[in-house]
């Protein structure tokens, strides 16, 4: 888990300015911003699973997971769905334009802790974005892990993210990649149904598996119960939680989930730590 202290004299509420290095169109409603610090070249340090607060001038700030750099690229990548006023404003940014950034914040995926184990990654929709740096980290030391499985579900085929990378993950690194959609179209030849149904199609050793899960809460609830049914211990299941965030540093109170502050204790949680509150409505 990332636990770096705030440097003295730094106000964690003040953004730094970053420049859009590259704008990447991912799908019809989702895009990625590759950003670099304005006037700075220092390498950006973050852990897979962490997020930044991105600020669009005069509009506002939103928490966005860090989805890269890709191997061989420099900037920090943020994959964003255009769903609100701030994400709409970020969508309109072009290469070279400025945005504000605070971060990185939050906990991270158990990359080190998973060494020697099989790893099952389950993602729903844009939930793949915060998992991509985890996948890169695993693949960078591929021989340290057993089976690596990616189970990825989206609503419609057109919502699939990062499709160009699937073949590299399959072919070069031997990742078992399985996809599914809720609603197929004429071209779709793959699975239809919820992401859980993919578990039976892949090979892993449940007792020696770490699962990293990110998606809508309902999807994660089903994923957790299905993985438990296969025998993956609760202490080896990792989930992410999403709530309204204003400050990202535990001052504003908005993101509380029972005893946890999602901004500083999460967004990645070991399942057994949040289990008592996981199924409670309106918690």
């Amino acid at each position: 888990m990332a636990g770096q202290m705030q440097p003295p004299g730094v106000n964690p509420m003040i953004p730094q300015t970053y420049r859009v290095n590259k704008f990447i169109r991912e799908t019809h409603d989702t895009f990625s911003l590759d950003v670099v610090p304005k006037g700075g070249t220092e390498p950006m340090v973050f852990q897979p699973g962490q997020f930044n607060m991105l600020y669009a001038f005069g509009v506002g700030e939103v928490p966005i997971s860090i989805s890269g750099p890709k191997p061989g690229t420099q900037g920090m990548i943020h994959t964003i769905r255009d769903v609100g006023v701030v994400t709409r404003a970020l969508h309109h940014l072009k290469k070279g334009q400025t945005l504000g950034l605070r971060g990185p914040f939050g906990s991270s995926w158990p990359i080190e802790e998973s060494k020697g184990q099989d790893v099952v990654i389950m993602a729903g929709g844009i939930g793949l974005a915060p998992l991509r740096p985890a996948l890169y980290a695993l693949l960078e030391q591929r021989d340290q892990y057993g089976e690596i499985v990616l189970l990825y579900g989206v609503r419609n085929p057109e919502d699939l993210l990062f499709t160009k990378e699937f073949e590299t993950w399959r072919g070069k690194y031997g990742v078992q990649v399985k996809l599914t959609v809720d609603t197929a179209d004429r071209e779709w030849r793959g699975n239809v149904g919820v992401v859980n149904t993919l578990i039976q199609r892949v090979t892993f050793d449940p007792l020696n598996t770490v699962a990293m899960i990110c998606g809508p809460e309902v999807m994660m609830r089903f994923a957790v119960s299905e993985l438990k049914r296969y025998g993956v211990p609760e202490q080896q299941l990792y989930v992410t939680l999403e709530r309204n965030l204003k400050c990202a540093v535990g001052f504003c109170g908005h993101c509380q989930f029972g005893p946890a502050f999602i901004c500083k204790d999460g967004a990645v949680f070991r399942y057994d730590k949040v289990k008592p509150f996981f199924g409670i409505r309106e918690i």
Binding site: Q6, G60, K94, G258, F261, E282
Partner: protein
């Protein structure tokens, strides 16, 4: 520290001028709009002399006393958090230049407040907010500088209010630590003076500039008796035994639905609470669109958009918001910050329009506790 001393009313008045001379802005209780609030003071003439208050669920009334006591009342709607954690402040501004912009952090001011009349529960409330803003992984520099500069003149309570329960929360009424000077007001037919305990070197330095004398042992004893009597008068009690487990196990208790029928979701309880710290941010621009600002403002877990996510609010029902507030204060606060989030000041009971009584609601849940079935 030094042995307790005695100062009289003139001494207290002189203390205010000494603090002003040291560069402090002295703030303390004063009467405004039929309530005792915390505002800047020039002299003891600004204190609520001869006033007391009547408090109960949803009730707050000022009354005249028959004497000239300066601190003969309980806590009002204000708490010191409005000075340490300002209700609204600009965090930064930004200036655009074409498609580029620059962020200009707000200059960090460092006002020096001297708080006169801080009660025991309030000293604890400030220590609790310290854990939120300065003792964790991140530090709020605005709170930090105000907190470090502050001078505390605590006052032992000579009477308990109708909604007070500091004894249950172990936060009073006796002032124990964190103060520069602590006063106990002694008022009888022949005397009106203050027994003063010194809690810091700065407190001792101030005292050295006032006319004072050593307190006699019977005077120190009299002050202790006053606080002991106050402890016997608590208007409310709260059984805190295993309260975290009680609430965590009863998140689906039917009592929450009953409370929701009365709760207006007005957020009064969170505004008057001395430990509630939640805030939101607002982004504004001027008419040219070239200048933007970000402001931080107090917020409340009772507002509708507090938990807004794409797709709606997580806590859409009043039930869930009241449950969040109460369980945060008494249960999850313990996990987050290692102490209760409640100091037993009773403000949330007094200032609740439909008079929902925090202590009564916990009692009802305790008396009819059903075990929450294991979530799947």
């Amino acid at each position: 520290m030094n042995a307790p001393v005695i100062i009289d009313r003139d001494g207290l008045n002189r203390l205010i001028s000494v603090l002003v001379g040291m560069g402090f802005q002295v703030v303390g209780p004063t009467v405004r709009d039929e309530a005792i609030v915390y505002e800047p003071l020039d002299s003891i003439k600004d204190l609520p002399e001869g006033f007391t208050d009547e408090q109960d669920g949803g009730i707050y009334r000022l009354k005249k006393r028959t004497d000239k006591a300066l601190f003969g009342y309980s806590v009002g709607p204000h708490s010191w958090k409005k000075f340490l954690h300002p209700p609204e402040r600009r965090l930064w501004g930004a200036e655009a230049d074409g498609s580029d912009f620059e962020i200009k952090p707000e200059k960090l001011e460092s006002p020096k407040f001297a708080f006169l009349g801080v009660r025991a529960c309030e000293m604890h409330a400030i220590a609790i907010q310290d854990k939120v803003f300065i003792n964790g992984k991140y530090v709020d520099p605005v709170y930090q500088v105000r907190r470090e500069n502050a001078f505390f003149i605590a006052v032992n309570c000579g009477q308990a209010g109708g909604t007070c329960f500091c004894v249950s929360m172990n936060t009073g009424p006796n002032i124990e630590e964190g103060f520069d000077l602590a006063l106990t007001e002694i008022l009888d037919e022949d005397h009106h003076h203050f027994v003063v305990e010194v809690g810091s070197q700065q407190g001792a330095n101030c005292l050295a500039q006032l006319t004072h004398r050593q307190a006699r042992s019977e005077e120190v004893e009299a002050a202790k008796n006053i606080v002991a009597q106050t402890a016997q008068q608590m208007g409310r009690t709260l059984n805190t035994t295993d309260i975290k487990e009680l609430l965590y196990e009863n998140l689906e208790h039917p009592r929450w639905d009953e409370i929701a029928e009365r709760c207006l979701s007005c957020a009064n309880c969170t505004m008057v609470c001395p430990t509630c710290f939640c805030s939101t941010v607002e982004d504004v621009t001027d008419i040219t669109g070239m200048h933007a600002e970000r402001w931080q403002k107090w917020d409340s877990c009772f507002t509708m958009d507090f938990t807004y996510l794409h797709g709606g609010e997580v806590r859409a029902s009043t039930k869930s918001r009241y449950r969040q507030w109460l369980t945060h204060k008494l249960a999850s606060w313990q996990d987050q910050f290692g102490s209760s989030g409640c100091v037993g000041c009773g403000r949330c009971i007094t200032w609740c329009p439909p008079a929902i009584d925090f202590t009564e609601e916990v009692l009802q849940i305790r008396d009819s506790a059903t075990q929450l079935s294991e979530p799947t």
